[in-house]
């Protein structure tokens, strides 16, 4: 491949090609029909829609379910989909949605106000008998009321501004009452997930492959999309191919047209053959390292600040990743709502870092490890397997910290130990963290004690936390969830970003994309707001 071509390809990718292919390059006529072969790295797990955050699950759910609203991935505006229109009261405690008429689930049942109400009652309150847990994106949910067959009203105990965006996420995908009547432990069978989406799962070999077929009667895609009516493809075949080299080899050999999970170091191999890398952003909380200040070792602000300035995110991105993984400039992605550039506070400054550690009383001991009152500054973190090259990232952070005399042990461990120890600040003073969602509510989800609680504050699931709690942080997070004025809400989002960095609770490293590689034959391959694939408008050009 010539250099100029490589540069051109790079330039196209840098311009955000994934979102503009349809408009910019749609010169050739759309070819209808054909089966798309999609290679997935891991098998999906339970497909209860609120568990749709897991990348393999969202790849399936996004094709088979519709959502009440559509979040435009370019503008992040909320647009009509299954809901034609909606109204919200001034306090954001009551929402009324008008449902589009004529929508049906693939089992023939109507998608009406009653079905929507039942979906959100389940996601908002959970179902004890059937063991369905509450959805992460729906908070303060009180109940629903079916006003007429196509009008539904939701009530909240407290102002819940994030709910409107919450109706657009994959985790709020609408499913048939039959699906909701099944116990949680039976929802791992994709053929049992009955949605109203453009594709229907027609068969599945658990853990190996699943086949989706287009719904020819589908005519209720998001109203403002260029593509309308049934999908262009006849179907999609998902094949689980765990081995990286086999996925890439099969793509390049023409045995598949799109693959998920391409590591940064494999990108060049794909581009060299004129295949395309798509790396849509996940627009949420950046891939970061967070502290658990309940642990005495990192309770001191100066220690955390020192480690923040000892971390060279630029080196991590340059060594392990590619241009598709931009260096973080805040705790949330630059493509996220309310983002504020805080790079001035995130400088790599080993001299300052050493000074701060000295001031905090941690002096370099005989073995080169800093100590204070006979205790060594030795920290531990578990790798997070779903994050790209997370082990390598943490190991590089460990090398950077080691230069200052701080030891970071990176553990792999089995899932049981990882989850148990991650809830214990004494065992994991440091942890990797990231989450994708295109609403400022994501910051609250990530840091608030009763939700993801990445800092391990008191009041969460962990019983190991002694005292740590930050009322100021929690106050800001609650305000984001309740503030109805968009401008004021964005101001709060800015405040919380600055506060988390000033307190050095988190060290943001890079903005995490979800990386795909595809054949040049695949056209109009698009992504929803947080980088999950959508094949609704996709089509395959002739060979």
């Amino acid at each position: 491949m010539s250099l100029s071509r490589f540069v051109k390809l790079g330039a196209v990718l840098a311009l955000g090609m994934p979102f503009s292919v349809g408009v910019a390059l749609a010169q050739d006529p759309v070819t209808k029909g054909g089966i798309l072969i999609y290679l997935e790295q891991q098998s999906h797990t339970n497909l209860y829609p609120p568990a749709g955050g897991f990348y393999p699950n969202s790849g399936v759910l996004n094709q088979i379910t519709d959502k009440l609203t559509y979040q435009n991935p370019k503008t992040l505006e909320i647009e009509p989909w299954i809901a034609e229109s909606w109204t919200v009261n001034a306090k954001a405690t009551e929402y009324v949605f008008k449902i589009r008429p004529g929508v049906t689930f693939s089992d023939g049942a109507p998608l009406d106000a009653a079905a929507v109400a039942k979906n959100f009652d389940t996601y908002g309150l959970g179902n004890k008998e059937l063991k369905h847990p509450v959805s992460e994106v729906i908070t303060n949910y009180k109940g629903s009321e079916v006003i007429d067959p196509l009008t539904v009203k939701f009530f909240f105990t407290k102002p819940s501004v994030g709910f409107l965006q919450g109706t657009s996420v994959i985790g709020s995908g609408l499913v048939s009452l039959k699906t909701l009547a099944m116990p949680d432990e039976a929802l791992g069978d994709a053929t049992k997930i009955i949605g109203s989406g453009p594709f229907v799962v027609t068969s599945e070999v658990l853990g190996r492959e699943l086949t989706m077929t287009a719904r020819k009667d589908y005519k209720w895609g998001p109203a403002k999309l260029a593509h309308q009516g049934p999908p262009n493809l006849d179907g999609i075949k998902y094949v689980i191919t765990p081995e990286d080299s086999v996925r890439i080899g099969a793509l390049l050999a023409g045995q598949a047209q799109v693959i998920r999970q391409v590591q940064a170091y494999d990108e060049k191999q794909v581009q060299a053959k004129n295949f395309l890398i798509y790396a849509p952003p996940t627009r949420g909380v950046n891939n970061s390292v967070v502290f658990r200040p309940d642990n005495a070792l990192v309770a001191d602000l100066k220690v955390r600040q020192a480690l923040l300035h000892a971390t060279n995110a630029k080196e991590i991105v340059a060594t392990l990743f590619s241009a598709n993984y931009p260096q973080a400039k805040s705790i949330i992605a630059s493509t996220a709502q309310g983002y504020v550039d805080l790079s001035a506070k995130l400088t790599f400054d080993p001299v300052l870092a050493a000074k701060l550690l000295d001031e905090a009383g941690w002096t370099v001991g005989p073995k080169g490890v800093r100590q204070k009152d006979g205790k060594e500054l030795v920290l531990t973190a578990y790798e997070s397997p779903p994050q790209p090259q997370n082990k390598e990232t943490l190991q590089l952070v460990a090398q950077q910290w080691a230069k200052l005399g701080v030891k970071l042990s990176v553990l792999a461990g089995d899932a049981g130990s990882r989850v148990a120890d991650s809830l214990d600040p004494l065992k994991t003073p440091v942890a990797p963290a990231m989450v994708g969602r295109a609403d400022p509510d994501v910051i609250r989800s990530q840091y608030y004690p009763t939700t993801r609680n990445v800092l391990l504050q008191k009041g969460g699931v962990s019983t190991r936390v002694q005292t740590f709690s930050d009322d100021k942080l929690n106050g800001l997070l609650e305000a984001i969830a309740a503030e109805t004025d968009p401008a004021k809400r964005m101001a709060l989002v800015g405040d919380v970003q600055a506060y988390v960095i000033d307190q050095a609770y988190a060290i943001p490293i890079f903005e995490e994309p979800q990386a795909f590689a595809a054949s040049p034959r695949l056209k109009d391959f698009t992504f929803e707001a947080v980088g999950r694939p959508s094949f609704y408008a996709a089509w395959l050009a002739p060979k």
Binding site: T45, D189, G416, A420
Partner: protein
């Protein structure tokens, strides 16, 4: 013979019961369980109360002995429970994963046996010394080839470069060609090594010299006199290896994207999916016990001296 069989079946049942209990206890000792891993993971964003409710609904808050009795009762009625992580009944997982594993393991094993016999007989039949030593050193090569490397090489060459077989959407037979080769090559290695060494040993026995002196050809001696004596230790190893194949060809499955017990076990271990592991342990134990029983019953068929011994002890 009937008493012997009954005794052996009784033994097998005891082994199964002990395995079941040991597996249950060991799974309890591990830190955390499937419910914790799934629902307490921060991605779910659940509160402590919500998790407690879910634990209660799954019966995970009951005392261990009560959980044990429930599990035993369920197993006896054929109810293996649900996989918490995958969200499907364990019986459905077994139904999807056991047949392909059985097929792959059996074919891999058969091809391995053919390879073994071919290697052993060729190396003993050939008059050419260099060929003989080349053939005899093949097993050492086979055993040192890492399975994942072999698998990826076969795919790269035969599927991606030459385009002879598809790995992504293959036909039912096509699907098996490369994985069977990947499995058979390393499995044939220890079998061939043992068989060759035993043949060499038996060849030094006096009765071989007698047979040769009577004018028997090399092939005749090898097949009629030597093979029968040399095959017994190989059979024992073969039984063990086949059991291992059933318990999972994890690497082969992962490379070829095949579903099977290996991958299922790997995932269930990672997620502490107790119900799945419990079922897999029982199925694997059952397979081992059955294969050993078959091997034991085959001994007297091959060597009449052993049947008298069985008669004396039973």
């Amino acid at each position: 013979m009937a008493r012997y069989l009954l005794g052996r079946i009784g033994q097998a049942m005891a082994v199964l019961a002990v395995t079941f209990t040991a597996a249950f206890l060991l799974l309890q000792v591990l830190p955390g369980d499937a419910i914790m891993i799934k629902f307490m993971s921060p991605e779910m964003g659940l509160s402590a109360d919500q998790i407690a409710e879910i634990r209660a609904a799954y019966g995970a808050d009951l005392p261990i002995w009560e959980q044990y009795l429930r599990t035993v009762a369920n197993f006896l009625t054929g109810n293996f429970g649900y996989s918490i992580q995958a969200g499907v009944p364990v019986s459905q997982q077994l139904a999807t994963n056991l047949p392909p594993t059985l097929l792959l393991a059996s074919l891999g094993f058969i091809v391995a046996v053919i390879l073994t016999v071919a290697l052993a007989s060729l190396s003993n039949m050939t008059g050419m010394g260099w060929l003989r030593s080349a053939l005899q050193s093949l097993p050492s090569l086979f055993i040192s080839v890492p399975v994942f490397w072999l698998g990826i090489m076969l795919i790269q060459i035969f599927s991606f470069q030459l385009g002879l077989v598809s790995v992504i959407s293959p036909g039912p037979v096509e699907r098996l060609i490369l994985p069977v080769a990947t499995l058979a090559i390393p499995i044939s290695a220890p079998l061939a090594q043992i068989l060759m060494r035993n043949i060499d040993e038996v060849l030094t026995q006096p009765f071989v010299a007698v047979a040769c002196a009577k004018g028997a050809s090399r092939g005749w001696v090898l097949w009629r006199h030597v093979a029968r004596n040399a095959v017994l230790p190989t059979l024992t190893i073969a039984g063990v290896l086949f059991g291992e194949l059933l318990a999972g060809a994890v690497v082969t499955e992962a490379v070829y994207g095949l579903n099977g017990l290996g991958g299922l076990t790997y995932q269930a271990v990672g997620n502490h999916d107790t119900a799945v592991l419990q079922a897999i342990v029982v199925v694997s134990a059952l397979a081992f016990v059955t294969i050993n029983l078959i091997v034991d019953l085959l001994y007297p068929v091959l060597d009449p001296r052993l049947s008298r011994k069985i008669g004396a002890t039973a």
